[in-house]
């Protein structure tokens, strides 16, 4: 590995930037349709595309119901046609006084071999914009690309929910100790930032205190299900376990406190990450889009991440040309980093993240 061309992982923490995000319906959505035109202004809750989920099918053994000896007799008994939408209880076939009614509301999709197959009504999918901005590209029929400007903090995990609210740090006593009887209006509808690992009472506080969402450093794995079922959006900045919030992230959020933020707490996948977008006043100049190709340089601020510990920030002081032996005996390409605490450590290149530019 030639170190001068190493491109570290980016987990963006930007005070102003142009942010462009694609919002697309799932691949398996039916009847997909884009609702917004190119250039349209969208709000976080605006629906940019609609579709429907694949709906289950119902097989009705009509031949047995009517006691038909020959299956080709069935089409002659149908009172509703192939492709027709039928209401629950509506007669769909009749032989003298014997009637066959639709057990569900749906569409007749097949009449064959003495059976009638009904497809139940699909659930609608309303794809929300997830951020305030403008549509800069329409990817018909699945969705759009939205552009916005503001501050951005990328997290590591989210509970697949979205929220919009003012950013507030938790009260001194902790969000879990807020009095449910006397709701604190300052926190109602807010996105609350916790510096400690998420607890079950804090998850409950989302509903009790009517919070829009939480930004937290970490969560114990056994609380994942509770977080997924929480009423608000939850975004993790560190990972799983009992890790505290990294002081640099905490400082960044302190600067943003009181501003309106939008959490898109998607669970991370190949298409995207959980993110917090924050409205910030912009100078006259349009900010630039984040640079996607930033190679590791001496003097660069880096975030040192680990699978079993909280992250820390530091500055690259050298990039050794040869692999370095770590304290555990592994030998790998490293950067020499001076942490904010003053400690100097060799960090495997794979454990470095940069905040972007």
């Amino acid at each position: 590995m030639t170190l001068e061309t190493y491109y570290p992982e980016q987990r963006q923490m930007l005070s102003t930037a142009i942010i462009r995000r694609a919002r697309l319906l799932p691949e398996d959505a039916f009847d997909a349709e884009v609702e917004m035109a190119m250039g349209a202004r969208v709000g976080v809750r605006d629906v940019v595309a609609r579709g429907s989920t694949p709906a289950p099918f119902l097989v009705i053994d009509a031949a047995a119901h009517f006691g038909l000896r020959r299956h080709d007799q069935l089409p002659g008994l149908m009172t509703a046609g192939l492709g027709d939408y039928v209401e629950r209880g509506q007669i769909i076939a009749q032989k003298r006084r014997r009637r066959l009614t639709a057990p569900v509301t749906g569409r007749i999709v097949q009449v064959e071999n003495g059976t009638i197959i009904l497809q139940q009504l699909s659930d609608a999918i309303d794809l929300e914009a997830g951020l305030n901005g403008s549509v800069i590209e329409v990817r018909s029929p699945r969705g759009v690309v939205i552009e916005t400007m503001g501050a951005l903090l990328q997290g590591v995990w989210g509970n697949n929910k979205r929220a919009i609210g003012v950013l507030r740090f938790e009260p001194e006593g902790g969000v879990e100790n807020m009095d449910a009887e006397s709701l604190d209006l300052e926190y109602r509808g807010a996105i609350v930032i916790l510096r400690q690992s998420l607890t079950l009472p804090a998850i409950r506080a989302i509903a009790e205190q009517k919070l829009a969402g939480l930004v937290v450093p970490s969560i114990e794995v056994r609380l994942i299900d509770a977080a997924l079922h929480a009423e608000g959006a939850i975004l993790l900045t560190e990972g799983f376990g009992g890790m505290r919030m990294n002081p640099q992230i905490s400082t960044f959020l302190e600067l943003m406190a009181g501003r309106q933020g939008m959490i898109d707490a998607r669970t991370p996948d190949a298409d995207g990450r959980p993110e917090l977008f924050i409205n910030v006043p912009l100078a006259n100049e349009r900010p630039s889009a984040p640079l996607t190709s930033l190679s590791l340089q001496i003097g660069m601020q880096v975030r040192v991440v680990r699978a079993d510990m909280p992250s820390g920030y530091g500055q690259v002081i050298s990039i050794p040309g040869e692999p370095v032996m770590l304290e555990n005996g592994l030998v790998c390409p490293c950067a020499h980093v001076e942490m904010v605490t003053g400690e100097r450590v060799f960090v495997p290149l794979g454990n470095l993240e940069i905040a972007g530019r």
């Binding site: 590995m1 030639t2 061309t5 190493y6 491109y7 570290p8 992982e9 963006q12 398996d28 039916f30 694949p54 289950p56 099918f57 097989v59 999709v109 097949q110 197959i117 497809q119 590591v156 995990w157 879990e176 690992s197 607890t199 079950l200 009472p201 114990e220 794995v221 056994r222 609380l223 509770a226 079922h229 990972g239 799983f240 376990g241 009992g242 890790m243 505290r244 991370p268 190949a270 995207g272 990450r273 984040p290 996607t292 190709s293 991440v305 680990r306 699978a307 079993d308 510990m309 909280p310 032996m325 304290e327 555990n328 005996g329 592994l330 030998v331 790998c332 495997p348 454990n351 972007g356």
Partner: protein, 690 residues
Amino acid sequence: MTAMPAALSSILAVDFGNVNTRAVLLELVDGTYTVVAQAEERTTAGFPNHDVSIGLGRIARQIGISTGRMMLSPDNRLIMPEQADRSGVDGFIATASIGRPLRTVLVGLVPEISVASALRAAAGTYIDILDTITLEDDRPVQERLNAIILARPDLIFMAGGTDDGARGPVLELARLVRTAVSLMRGHAPLVLYAGNSDLRDDLKQMIGGVADIFFTDNVRPTREIERLEAAQAELGSAYNRFAGQRGMGFDTVSRLTQLGVLPNAQSYHLVTEYLGRIGGPKSNVMVIDIGASASTISAWVSGHVSTSIRTDIGLGASARSTLDIVGLEAIDRWLPFITYEDEILSYAMNKTLRPGLVPDTLRAMYLEHGFLRAAIAGLVDAARPTWTPNSALDDLSQPLQHFDRIIGAGAGLCNTGRPGMSAMLLLDALQPRGVVRLQLDNAALIPALGALARLNPEAAVQLMDGGGFEDLGTAVSLTGTPRAGRAAAEVTIVTRGVTEKHKIEAGMLWLHEVSPGTQADVTIRTARGMSINGARKVKFTMAGGSAGLIVDTRGRPLSLAVDAKGFAAQLSNWYAQSTGDPVREVSIGWLEDMMAENIAGVQRETVTQPAKRRFGRGPKPPKASKIRGNSPAGIRDSSELPEVPVYDTAKPASGGRRGVKKLGKKDAAASDAPAPQTELSDDDLRNLLS
């Protein structure tokens, strides 16, 4: 796709993995293809680039820097063909193991027969089995129909019936498939049939009108015989057809190659077969690649090659599913400290979030290597039945077949930077018996070779014969139960006319330097009670390697100490023996049940119900720890229980036997109880006591 010149004087081969993209530059030097440069970059399929061709540009630039050869034009395009000034390359080949696997519904008659064989055939390519429909499936027709349709499969793989066997039941399942396919609006899956070959015409007539159906040899022509090769080849073709549409910039990369982007598992199959054939029918070969999101194993056993891919076993994006497959105990058995299920789960989840993380502490390394060993063992267990094609009945309780050569691949095995450690990890996980040559494919040459073999088989052969793999050395593993403090073997090594004799103690990994490029004549005599694949004495000539000669006197099956202190000493000694480093002692705090002590001492009054399982060779957990509480349901149940202090304050004795621990936490257990004065996280407790 780009046509390549007939005579390729230089070839750039790139393999796109989930975390890393690796490249090798091959050049024709004096009529022989040689690896002249290799490079590695992070894959750029995900955020923020979403385009693998960006990583290709970066890696080409890296190769350019290391060789002084200009690879990219000013507009960042790969220069092809090679120019008079030696810039660019004549050929470019690409392989990949990333992207969504082929979504597949499996339809077969009997779970233990045709379905089992079909599953083994499917294991040879990147396939995700979404549902399995069999005759024994007791779901109503409607549910089975919905299972197929709502899965939105890319492929329906049908098997069932021996040749000249069952007709009616197969046709019944085919009717279900036909109905399902006819109801899939705007999404027609491929249908592959590998069942009773007498029914092909019937199936073509029944399904051909509503979907593309293609046929291959019956995977179970008789009840006793299994034939997977033809089905595996067809499944590979189906994947290739589908993979062309995977996005992520592969269309750009594909246009640069004559062959398109090939799945790298096919290369493993091809290379293993070649190595097996040159070794002869009695020579068994294994190639095992543990990746971040998918893992592959190819084995040449008794003149037959078989490849299995698991898209749910890996050390990065698949770490969580690996844990589900192998189980917590399989990982914990390799951890020289007392731990809790939360720590193992958190580690897996954090690796899923950040698959490229390198373990940079001793504890993290033990966790990582615990996952690695368990993943290898799990992959082998799943694949072993496919290694014996003429017998569908395999006994996994039998020791692993003897292998003459084992090649490891994937960052977990190759990127330790310590040849002896990589060798030890392979030995621990596979526990081979007898004499085995160990190698690593740390340049990711195998994917390149497989693809190259399609363009220029001679070039691929030259590279395989020319030492493209890193030779770790030769390992000799003794079978039997070693007796501590006694000699297990006597080794005589003759290198360049110099004879050395060594007595090797039982229970250790003994490494002796035999440098790459040299040869040594080795004679090993075992002590009473130990043997080398049944023999008391073996004599062989070995080629040198980066780890050299490894004599493993730890016995087979490998016997791990049952007490915490004993195992910590055992494992840290093995790491030291494999690397030549001083022993990295395991902290004494790691061997104590810190959580129990803290909760007992600090929070005893507030802890009401346990929520964590503890693992390790420590004292047994308190009785109440059997109550689980790591799900919302569990949490609710726990909070309904009366609040009682459950922990014994007696200090658990360190060095006790291994056991599963699960300790209480306020969150999951007593969430409705008043808040405790102090609540310490796992990390706090660990920090406090370390």
